[in-house]
Amino acid sequence: MSAELTRRSAAELAALLASGETSSVELTQAHLERIAEVDGEVAAFLHVDAEGALAQAAEADRRRAAGEDVRELTGVPIAVKDVVVTRGLPTTAGSKILEGWVPPYDATLVERIKAAGLPILGKTNMDEFAMGSSTEFSAFGPTRNPWDLTRIPGGSGGGSAAAVAAFEAPLAIGTDTGGSIRQPGAVTGTVGVKPTYGGISRYGLIAMASSLDQAGPVTRTVLDSALLHELVGGHDPRDATSLPEELPALAQAAREGAAGDLSGVRIGVITELDGDGYQEGVRARFHESVELLRGAGAEIVEVSCPSFDYALAAYYLIMPAEASSNLAKFDGMRFGLRVEPSEGPVTAERVMAATRGAGFGDEVKRRIILGTYALSAGYYDAYYGSAQKVRTLIQRDFAAAFDKADVLVSPTAPTTAFPLGSKLDDPLAMYLNDVATIPANLAGVPGISVPNGLAEDGLPTGFQVLAPARADDRVYRVGAALEALLEASWGGRLLDRAPDLEESK
């Protein structure tokens, strides 16, 4: 029963809880056992809070028994990316500079998770400060892809995606600045959603690029993502950039989409996000999925977004610039690591520099230097200032495209999961992983990645759906439709085909 429990979707587990066939304690225990069994190899978790999770589970069961304020997902365990601040639980953002730091407050989304009674299993691994596409830049070692433990699980949120893909958690929270939820979703065969910018509160997210960061759900099914999104999303007065209005009905959109009828829906295929640079199998699965959608009644159109060719360049100016400022607070004065210079006077300035030199990894240093440079006197107009203009052009291209189509689609990532270590010497090659996901962050529009098959190498591929800002319901509708159609054709879920991890021990 325990093994079966961990393979269910969150919605299914919620139904079992509602019917009394299982308890939150039983569920949580089952997942803790699964973590103990496989996480030695997957390394999805940086911290597991067994005691806390079980206590929260017991409380959730008590609430349910007393009929107190029970939500659909109450009692279903969840994992949280370690970039999200959790009171009383260590929060490292995957960095040595925060090793051992225990926050004195909860992120808003964590408050909402706790208020709804979802036991928090632990904090998941990530590229340091969310900078990366492979989770190899975590200061605490990489996470491995449950499909093939010699390969990356994607990044920066590889831990959350791997945890969900390895059935260690039915739900997880990730964050997405340039694709860090969607790309791991694609390479691990899981679902990941980046909401409309402002859709989920950023209060308590350790900031990388403030104008691009968004938290979002990481799950195995589209409906699960919708349910989690609704639970943690919505206006937060502590985040001045959070959208004032209520979220659209997302779970409802997912359920409607699952009926598989897309008549009247116009689907735009983005010319620039295909072709050379995209792996053969990725392209093949993508076009097959497009045909499936056509078969379900959708009208398929080609749209061109020429400014997308500049998106990567703009992103790698805007993001490091904002990050260089956001990461200035890590200086050894108030919290976290403090390192004194090995020789010479011990001044505040030198301790800051020594702390940051020792506490930050290579990729973080790379981006801070690049970002500081981009903002520097004399360079602002040519670099950061210009990149903000590209942002305008990308928004205009999206606007024009959404005149012709209700949603836009592309492969989520250009390749399947590559081997650990294979791109470490080539930062530019690493950055290209985000080429299809970045435009959505720059424009603030929502996007989902849905697993849409295996490439020629037997590894998962992902299908990305984008919608206009505030129209998150559309990505759930179309995503759910595709999921339903694919699972019907597969006779089950894609993850059913993932190798059993127990065997690989």
Binding site: D239, T241, E322, M333, R334, P345, V346
Partner: protein
């Protein structure tokens, strides 16, 4: 250790040969209840780090949200400074590393401030008015406070460190920046001082800050540059910080002008730098040169959205502005009927409010002025006190004058009564009674005294009957002496004439 003495050119000489240009930046701490970007209480003088939130501590993940009252206060200030209020303004990050700046950036405003292009008329001591052009006023957050620990001489490893308190971090500030202040000439020190004082009075009148310079609610950085003539291009300026009182402002300007003149006279050039004012010596010294200090890498604050104050809101605020100090002064001068000189004296003595209270307690303005600017000002001066600190209240002064007006005491007696009040003997009425200082109202004793005086000088009566009224004063004087001043001179005069005539 030897100290180098700075060469100085006497101030008057310096201003004769060089044209002085000033620039003044004033920071005012707003008296809001919570901080600029977070709801931690805005406190003063509390125990360290007891008023801090994740936002004002700069913890990872925390986000700022703008305090609406701070925006309103800033608009009030902008309107009072005759500025345009921005249709839309934005916040920007000013990036620099410093332990009292928790995020290692300050949220401020850069190219889109909330108010700009204004002016402030400053009244100088001689009554002339100097217009200071205001370039901008913008909102930003304050930093925490460092307390330096350890010896100030010697750099022993580990012996010195700092303790940081973040209570002040995040308190709202408005920074007001002038355009170059030109044409003040040798009055530059006075103009600088008067400008900051006028601003201080404005902040209090607007109720946006307690505005106490000694508490750091109001801070001024003074920029000074010299040039050969007013037509020459602007010279290199220095910025002087740590100017903590109005008097220091004057002294700092005087010193900088003298110092810079000496440097230029010697053929040198002024280093653009930040200098530090020393209260004890009245001198400025060079601050440490920070090579990267100017590269603040400003960029728009992504965590905050633009503020676009509606024109309706701005007009609401404008309509709610209290009467501003200059307008109030003009109105009161008119109501009180004072000459410009008289009013200026009152203003320069800081006595407006005390006069107003006295008038409101029933005294005529002229009488109020006579007492406060005369006898009481003298007394205050002698005792080294401010008018407000004297042991007499406006109501008591009004009462005193009332006793004079009703004839119960005369002016001379009033002074004695006043002395009694100041000595703590009670209210004017009480002192009159206890000291027996009332004017004699019964003619009897007066007549007796008159007769005595006349008897002492028999020929005076003759002279007076003859039409020479001069000696009447002598009789009055004798009577006053005899009654210890407690006679109404006018009544005595009447009685003398009656007696003599007949």
């Amino acid at each position: 250790m030897t100290t180098t003495t700075t060469d100085l050119v006497p101030f008057e000489e310096a201003t004769a040969r060089y044209d002085t240009v000033l620039g003044i930046e004033v920071h005012v701490e707003l008296g809001t209840r919570s901080k600029m970007f977070c709801p931690a209480p805005a406190v003063f003088g509390e125990e360290a780090n007891t008023s801090v939130s994740p936002v004002s501590l700069g913890l990872p993940g925390a986000l700022p949200v703008v305090n609406r009252s701070a925006v309103e206060f800033a608009i009030r200030i902008g309107l009072a400074l005759n500025c345009q209020i921005a249709e839309t303004c934005r916040f920007a990050r000013k990036n620099y590393f410093y332990p009292d700046v928790p995020k290692n950036y300050q949220i401020s405003q850069f190219d889109e401030p909330i108010a700009f292009d204004g002016w402030l008329d400053v009244e100088l001591e001689d009554g002339s008015v100097f217009r200071v052009e205001i370039e901008r006023a913008h909102l930003e957050e304050d930093a925490g406070k460092n307390t330096h620990v350890g010896g100030s001489t010697g750099r022993i490893h580990g012996a010195e460190y700092s303790l940081v308190d973040y209570n002040r971090a995040g308190i709202p500030l408005v920074e007001i920046v002038t355009r170059p202040i030109e044409g003040a000439g040798e009055r530059a020190p006075e103009v600088a001082r008067a400008y900051v004082q006028t601003l201080r009075d404005l902040f209090r009148a607007l109720e946006v800050s307690e505005a106490r310079m000694e508490r750091g609610n109001v801070r001024a950085d003074i920029n000074v540059s010299l040039r050969p003539t007013p037509e020459s291009p602007l010279g290199t300026r220095t910025e002087t910080k740590n100017v903590n009182s109005f008097r220091s402002i004057e002294r700092a300007v005087r010193f900088e002008v003298s110092r810079q003149a000496a440097v230029l006279d010697a053929g040198g050039s002024i280093t653009q730098e930040t200098r530090h004012f020393h209260e004890d010596t009245g001198q400025t010294t060079s601050g440490r040169v920070k090579s990267d200090a100017d590269d603040y890498r400003y960029f728009p604050e992504p965590d905050l959205v633009p503020i676009a104050p509606s024109r309706e809101w701005v007009e609401e605020i404008r309509a709610s502005l209290p009467e501003l100090p200059a307008a109030r002064r003009r109105r009161l001068q008119g109501e009180w009927g004072f000459t410009d000189l008289e009013m200026r004296d009152v203003v320069n003595s800081g006595a407006i409010d005390i006069l107003l209270a006295t008038v409101e307690a029933g005294a005529a303005p002229a009488a109020a002025r006579k007492w406060w600017m005369g006898e009481l000002a003298r007394t205050a001066n002698e005792q080294g006190l401010a008018l407000e600190e004297l042991a007499v209240t406006p109501a008591q002064v009004a009462e005193l004058q009332g006793l004079v007006d009703s004839g119960r005491i005369n002016d001379k007696l009033a002074r004695q009564v006043l002395a009694g009040v100041l000595a703590g003997e009670g209210s004017p009425e009480e002192v009159v009674v206890s000291r027996g200082l009332e004017v004699v109202s019964d003619d009897g004793p007066l007549l007796a005294a008159i007769d005595e005086a006349l008897a002492a000088q028999p020929d005076i009566a003759e002279k007076i009957r003859g039409g020479n009224l001069g000696p009447v004063g002598a009789i009055i004087g004798a009577v006053m002496k005899a009654t210890r001043g407690q006679a109404d001179a006018g009544r005595v005069r009447e009685l003398v004439l009656e007696r003599v005539k007949g």
